[in-house]
Amino acid sequence: MVSAVILNSGANPESITQFHDELANELPELRGNWGFSFKIFRNNPYSIPSGQPDSEEVSKETRFLHTLSPSYMNDLCICLINRRSVSVFTNMIDEEIGDLKFDTQIMTIPNGHLHKGAATGLSDVFDKFAAQKLQSLWTLKQNVRGDGGSIYQLENGNLTIKTSNVFLHGIFKGLLVEVNVDDHIVESTSSEYLVELFDRIIIDYKIPKGKMCFELMDSENPDELGDLCFQYSEILNF
């Protein structure tokens, strides 16, 4: 799957309704509602690297930690540090979801991890864990929420368009459109190809223009969820 994230910051109720109408004309398969929570943490300035002289009171470096939890993946939290290191956290244990595992995309904790005593089974979502217990390292700067979103599946399931309204501390910031293209119609991950691919999709489906990001952190070594979080971090850097 390759993805692109577009933020149309000039969106208004009229343009959003119009876009939804136009998508509905393509006879998509509706896959339900969704929302997301995106948090931006900055390194705590009073956490001082050992190389820095004692006389300085605050750290000179600036680093960011981003977390993304989309609601369609239960309790999942993607964490991206410094736009380089990716970790995917989840609370779902294999045996808990059982028959619900219709989607191979869902990542779960294997049963053995719980049974052999490595976890208590009462985990926190990572963004809460970071906000509660890693305060000395990371401080929460922004909390971006996506509400009232819809998921449309098009082109026989090869193309998924997700839309969501973006709020920063309760203030409307625009319409976010996430485009996912299934792997077997993607021919390459080179940026020239991706520009062409997403340009075609934007024109075909009249996606409102805005800040867009489809870049991968590392084009030779893609990581689906990590790259998605990276794209959100590029688009939603308020």
Partner: protein
């Protein structure tokens, strides 16, 4: 968040069979569940020096963190046999073949110091944890960060840990069994550490030795309560632990651990 009520004890190796038999009879569990975990103890890399503002209470602390995963001992030894010098080993986890490591599941865990108070029936402690199922490090050639280029071979979990601000400082392995009695989990285990003196083991495995050379077992009886605000469950749990403590008192002396030793805050 987990609010954990616990009591601990130790038994000599000679009491192992009797203890297991008693617990089997008490719990009705003929084959207890095996426990085997590998823990990395991590410490924040940076020093934390908050600015003191008069009148403002600074409650942010730095904590040690535990990273826990499962392990398999290569020799599958029997816990009931006492002397196990040079017979336990584990495979090397972080080797250069990073593809084999990407699917390792880790639980990050930070715990508060147990709650203080008089006349406690058991130790009560808040534990925060989160489990990661996937890690990945992007190699950024365009970042212009020269010092990063050397880290590319590093395991992506260790890289994540370092970027998060933690460094592993120690490690230990646990092997044991556990019983369930109502809400109570009773764990009986031995703790292993790396045996660096043992040179003649194969290069692809890590030899282990007992932390406690006397061959004794550690026992921990605990109840996990999902919320620290759920007073009813906590009161009920403490009463159940006290009942168990009384029931087993001739066999195991279950005690409250010293909370000072369970302080995971980093002293600057």
């Amino acid at each position: 968040m987990v609010h954990q009520l616990s009591l601990v004890s130790t038994i000599p190796h000679s009491s192992y069979v009797q203890t297991i038999s008693t617990l089997q009879a008490l719990t009705g569990l003929t084959s207890p569940q095996p426990v085997s975990t590998y823990t990395l103890i991590c410490k924040p890399i940076n020093k934390f020096k908050p600015k003191f503002v008069p009148g403002k209470v600074n409650q942010i602390e730095q904590y040690f963190m535990k990273c826990i995963t499962t392990w398999d001992d290569l020799d599958s030894f029997d816990l009931a046999t006492p002397y196990l010098s040079d017979r336990v080993s584990t495979s090397i986890l972080f080797n250069s073949d990073s593809a084999a490591n990407t699917k390792k599941i880790w639980t990050l865990q930070i715990s508060d110091i147990p709650i203080a108070g008089k006349n406690q029936t058991c130790s009560a402690q808040n534990i925060f944890e989160s489990t990661l199922v996937h890690t990945h490090t992007a190699s950024r050639k365009d970042a212009g960060d020269e010092k990063d280029s050397g880290d590319l071979d590093k395991d992506s979990f260790l890289q994540f840990l370092e970027d998060l601000g933690y460094n592993s400082i120690n490690q230990f392995w646990i092997k044991g069994v556990r019983f369930f009695h109502g809400d109570i989990v009773i764990e009986i285990f031995k703790v292993f550490v790396r045996d660096d003196a043992n040179k003649d083991s194969p290069s692809d495995s890590i030899p282990l030795k007992l932390l406690d050379e006397s061959n004794g077992f550690q026992i921990k009886a605990f109840i996990n309560v999902p919320k620290s605000t759920d007073i009813d469950l906590i009161t009920q749990g403490s009463a159940e632990l006290a009942k168990l403590q009384d029931f087993l008192k001739n066999l195991i002396q279950l005690e409250i651990p010293d909370r000072i030793f369970m302080d995971s805050r980093v002293q600057n």
